[in-house]
Symmetry: C2
Subunit: 306 residues, 2 copies
């Protein structure tokens, strides 16, 4: 019989994943809903409860894009078609009558890595989430750092090229237009390379980052160029981000980072090459250890208890 | 009769300024030594004491470049010819037998602004020091943020141009090679402009940033271009830095910032223009209020008591 169970929920543009998580980070049961099937987010608590009736839960943690942890609202999320401000914490607290906390997916990932993953040894670290976009969850003094307005750590929107690639935010040259799943796919069209026309990628209808990594491993030179370009850009900017909080480690998390050791090594190499002298040998690049688990559910659940 | 007096010391490459500071931020007496006259920094406590004999001091705050607040050492300061590691806190504590704290000049400035200057209303802010280089003193959760290794906030060494201007740190394109006294002087040689050859600046043997600001005000178009270029670059990067800690305000401090409201307005304009939507109307650019005082002495003294 488990006590002290947490419902961890990860709300994304495509899926809503949830699970029952023990204090040790074990997921007892998982469930899934399609985001587009949810017309009214106020119905979400009831729809989830139907699938987890056999458990008594003590608290709820929700990770979602464009979240404000202080107000408990999802604000202006471009990928969720639910209106401007969604009082998601209120919906869950009213329904379940237990404490509910909301955070963005990058902060959830950071707390997950701290409690259950590769960031356990560190008090100062930054989790870099490489999904559709690029996010950052920052630990300072052994605590998650939200900032005054709950919106710190928007590293994906640091503009790294003057008049660079168009970003969904309306500005140009944001880091996530280069270093993210979207960024890598953009690179297929936007990067030039001598072997571009020979590339297998151009023959794919809708190439994914996974296709790029696989093609690179099979010797596709243009694909290898995209991987290297992405790693170089990311490494260079991790070196620059070290100038902010001078963390002990950057933890690579999510889709692209799943490609593992080879990509991590490249990113670390380019970071070291560009690091300020003062920081040499003081900053690591490591991979998430939660990729084999449902890290997003785990992170959301971890945040509830942090 | 004053009680609770602090000796504030500002160690720079050219001057060592010090003063006796009251808890209200009043400076009762000031003194000065030439840095190059000090062959052995271990003699500094005695040389300073000779000039302040009439006061009983309770603690000491020292601001110096390349300082490590945790070790109490000045480490590898390129502008001080005193060797690799100077245990400056030890020298002062052994001599005066009172608590002594060391920090870098940007953190001293930040604490000074918090206690006595324009940052008093804020719990989250960043002081940007625009001197020979560019530094940042960061307040997070109403406390100065040093980072794990005492070396957070090296905003001057964020590389803002790929293969840009050569920096003293050995890397290229660091922000301080553009936005600092040195950066503005570099701009006289390195920037192109249609009216460059007509400029009064080129006739000056050793133009200072002050000369540039004055020439700009008198209608020198190339000088005005340098001022605008500097403000645009700084504003753009403050917008990017907001993505880190999302502060309530950036406080401009030191040499260039003394040129006041006109420069501040330009910087704020360019920051607003480049700010992520999420941060609109949440970040101010303000000027230091300590420019009429000896801000560096005040900041060092403030740090001693913070």
């Amino acid at each position: 019989m488990h006590t002290d169970l947490t419902l961890g929920i990860d709300i994304g543009g495509t899926n809503i994943a949830f699970g029952i998580v023990t204090p040790d980070g074990e997921i007892l049961k998982e469930g899934n809903l399609k985001t587009k099937d949810i017309r009214d987010p106020a119905l979400l608590p009831e729809l989830i409860e139907e699938q987890i009736k056999e458990f008594t839960i003590n608290n709820i943690g929700i990770g979602a894009p464009s979240s404000n942890t202080y107000s408990g609202m999802i604000e202006n999320a471009p990928n969720l078609k639910w209106g401007v401000n969604i009082p998601i914490v209120e919906y869950f607290e009213n329904y379940f009558k237990i404490p509910t906390k909301l955070t963005n997916d990058a902060n959830a990932a950071a707390v997950g890595e701290k409690l259950f993953g590769s960031a356990q040894p560190f008090t100062e670290f930054v989790v870099i989430t490489l999904g559709t976009g690029l996010g950052a969850g920052i630990f300072i003094n052994n605590e998650i750092f939200n900032g005054k307005f709950g919106t710190a750590g928007e590293f994906g929107h640091v503009m790294v090229e003057y008049n660079g690639r168009n970003c969904g935010c309306g500005r140009k040259g944001c880091l996530e237009t280069y270093c993210s799943a979207t960024g890598m796919i953009n690179s297929i069209t936007l990067l030039d390379h001598a072997k571009k026309n020979d590339s297998h990628l151009l023959k794919l209808d809708q190439a994914t980052p996974q296709d790029i990594f696989e093609a690179a491993e099979k010797g596709d030179e243009f694909a290898a160029h995209i991987v290297d370009f992405t790693a170089e850009k990311l490494g260079y900017w991790l070196a620059n981000f070290a100038c902010f909080s001078n963390p002990e480690a950057f933890v690579l998390f999510g889709g692209i980072a799943k490609n593992g050791e080879n990509f991590r090594q490249k990113v670390e190499h380019y970071m070291q090459q560009n690091l300020l002298n003062l920081y040499h040998n003081k900053v690591k690049v490591i991979c998430s250890e939660l990729h084999h688990k449902n890290a997003a559910i785990l992170g959301s659940a971890a945040y509830a208890k942090y």
